[in-house]
């Protein structure tokens, strides 16, 4: 294994981690402030991707599409919050799981109704096409670097939002004491809608970014959703910092596992067997990591103090 390959894989892990963070940040924020477990977060990711692909196809501009993905996902989030989610805050997790499971069915089949069964096309904008040289003599796709940068930017913006703004103060207040914040005269219903829409927008943004890299199709949100849940559970539900570190951990572990495990097994069994066993183990790896972490720290790595 060369330095160049290791560096490339590390970047791949980072990039996956950053994407997961965009999903996980919204999930964990919504849980932290409203105490809601939202399985339909993956559907908002899908909404973002479809909005971006559709608008990009109409206008020919990825950037307009990206803007549309933020707007549509936030709007979809706000509507869902107003119609359904706000009735769930004082319910137990079981009801929340069920209702948002139902939302997945509605979103998926509804999207198929509107867009048909075939995947949509969404290309990387010309500005970010191609690859750039890396130290070690290899190349790396510019778009993936852009994703890493965008993710870092969002993380920083979230940090500023929460630590420096009025909205952030209210969010923090909501996290530590839900009754208190109402007493402070904050319109809690509006705050919840705003937080939910913010989380939705982050998911939609992630969906659009990834849509250009993968295929825009119904059901694309579900694998990401489960990974995002793994991330926030590892990080400690409700903690943005936990979500960031959890996302990077999952991204790097998953990428490195897929890359290194088959190589490891080559030492013991023939190559085609090693590929299969290594591949099988790699696909289970993050779940194993999660189980190990929870066995030792049942509330994740960075459990919020109040919960």
């Amino acid at each position: 294994m060369t330095f160049a390959l290791a560096l490339e894989q590390l970047l791949n892990g980072l990039q996956l981690g950053v994407m997961l963070f965009l999903m996980a940040a919204g999930l964990t924020l919504i849980f932290g402030v409203m105490g809601l477990i939202n399985l339909a977060h993956g559907s908002l990711y899908m909404v973002g991707a479809f909005a971006c692909a559709t608008v990009a196809a109409w206008t020919g501009s990825f950037w307009l599409g990206l803007f549309a993905s933020l707007a549509c996902a936030a709007a979809a989030g706000a509507i869902v919050e107003l119609l359904v989610i706000r009735r769930l805050y004082d319910r137990d997790h079981l009801d929340q799981v069920l209702a948002t499971f139902a939302l997945i069915l509605i979103f998926s089949e509804g999207t198929r109704w509107m867009f048909g069964s075939f995947p949509l096309y969404l290309d990387i904008p010309p500005l970010l096409q191609g690859a750039v040289p890396l130290p070690g003599g290899t190349q790396y796709p510019l778009y993936r670097l852009a994703i890493i940068a965008a993710g870092a930017l969002v993380a920083f913006a979230l940090y500023l939002l929460i630590s420096r703004t009025r909205l952030g103060i209210r969010i923090r207040a909501g996290e530590s004491d839900r009754e208190m914040i109402g007493a402070l005269g904050v319109d809690i219903r509006t705050l919840y809608t705003v937080v939910f829409a913010l989380g939705a927008a982050l998911a939609g943004f992630a969906g659009a970014m990834v849509g250009a890299l993968q295929s825009v199709q119904v059901g694309m949100g579900e694998p990401v959703l489960i990974l995002a849940f793994v991330v926030i559970v590892i990080g400690g539900i409700g903690s943005i910092k936990g979500a960031l570190l959890g996302a990077l951990l999952v991204g790097v572990v998953d990428t490195m596992g897929r890359f290194l495990l088959p190589k490891l097994f080559v030492l013991f069994v023939p190559p085609s067997q090693a590929g299969m066993i290594g591949g099988a183990l790699a696909s289970m790896l993050i779940y194993i990591v999660m189980a190990l972490i929870l066995a030792v720290k049942p509330r994740g790595l960075f459990p919020p103090a109040h919960a």
């Binding site: 997790h93 779940y287 929870l294």
Partner: protein
């Protein structure tokens, strides 16, 4: 007799009457549909023990359902081919043996998964059970020996002493009796000392510890029993379809099992049966009308969660009573 008892009795009688009638008029498909209802109700009754009585929202019971299915599939395959399984033991096509193997395997898996998962609570518990089920799922998908993603066909349905299992009605009756036995067991456990402790641990875990009952052990035991019952359903499901695949292990399956319970009414004796019947009928009826049936299923589920919290039985039989 309370109203709920009457409703329960009617449900049980209907589930028996429909296949008998279908058999009489030569519509065997409705027997298959009723068998499916019975098996799903059995799986959900298993989950109901953990979820309804114990308050343990397991989002990973598909793991046990699938383990039961694979136990049946693998044993039957070896029974058919004559190749020894492990340690020189051979496969079998006897349902009774398969059931025991399925239940014991799932019970052990339940103990292992429960021992780690029950250290957590709330959302963490939901998610860690999901993670364990995903682990089993990916293992099944990528393990080549038993078909991987393609699954495993059981060419001939397994045998039950003195019964021709290939006859739809006979197989239905087996499932029906097993379901009633499981519901009976559920009722016994609910009323027993163990059931008292389990339900109290759901209602007030901290307080239960202060009287000297350790919730962890109670819950772990309940989780394992629950896993065994669900695995039994998995084994029957494999025999119904004469086929096992990783889709039995997918997180959608876990979600569906929870859906069945909520649809019927959480923690109720016949909730899983009511839920399974409703679910299968919705799936069949809507599926016949539109390809978009999942959309409408979603709307119905949402409606039940938001506006009809007691589920079907809550709607018909009123508020749940506790002893």
């Amino acid at each position: 007799m309370s109203r709920e008892t009457v409703v329960n009795f009617i449900l049980a009688a209907l589930l028996l009457a429909v296949p008998l009638l279908a058999n009489a008029v030569g519509q065997p498909f409705y027997i298959t549909l009723a068998t499916r209802i019975a098996i799903l109700a059995l799986a959900a009754t298993g989950l109901n023990l953990a979820l309804g009585l114990g308050g343990l929202v397991s989002f990973g019971h598909a793991a046990f359902f699938g383990i039961g299915g694979y136990a049946a599939g693998i044993l039957a395959t070896h029974g058919f081919s004559g190749e020894p399984l492990v340690f020189g033991l051979s496969g079998t096509n006897q349902m009774l043996v398969i059931w025991i193997v399925a239940a014991v395997t799932a019970g052990l898996a339940g103990l292992a998964i429960g021992a780690i998962s029950l250290r957590t609570s709330g959302v963490y518990f939901i998610m860690i059970t999901l993670a364990f089920a995903q682990m089993v799922y990916y293992f099944a998908v990528s393990w080549p020996a038993y078909g991987g993603e393609d699954g495993l066909s059981i060419l001939v349905r397994n045998q039950f002493p003195g019964v021709s299992t290939m006859r739809p009605l006979s197989f239905f009756l087996i499932c029906y009796v097993v379901l009633l036995a499981a519901i009976g067991l559920f009722a016994l456990i609910r009323a027993s000392r163990f059931g008292s402790a389990l339900q109290a641990a759901r209602q007030n875990p901290v307080r239960v510890a202060t009287v000297g009952i350790r919730p962890f052990r109670i819950r772990l035991t309940a989780f394992a029993i629950s896993a065994m019952m669900t695995a039994l359903a998995g084994a029957l499901f494999a025999d119904l379809n004469r086929f096992v695949s990783p889709s039995m292990l997918s997180w959608h399956m876990s979600g569906e099992l929870i859906v069945l319970i909520i649809l019927g009414g959480t923690g109720r004796l016949f909730g899983p049966l009511a839920g399974a019947a409703l679910y299968v009928i919705i799936e069949y009826a809507l599926g016949g009308i539109t390809e978009r049936w999942q959309f409408f299923l979603g709307l119905i589920l949402l409606g039940v969660v938001l506006f009809a919290r007691g589920g079907l039985l809550g709607f018909i039989a009123g508020k749940a009573r506790h002893g």
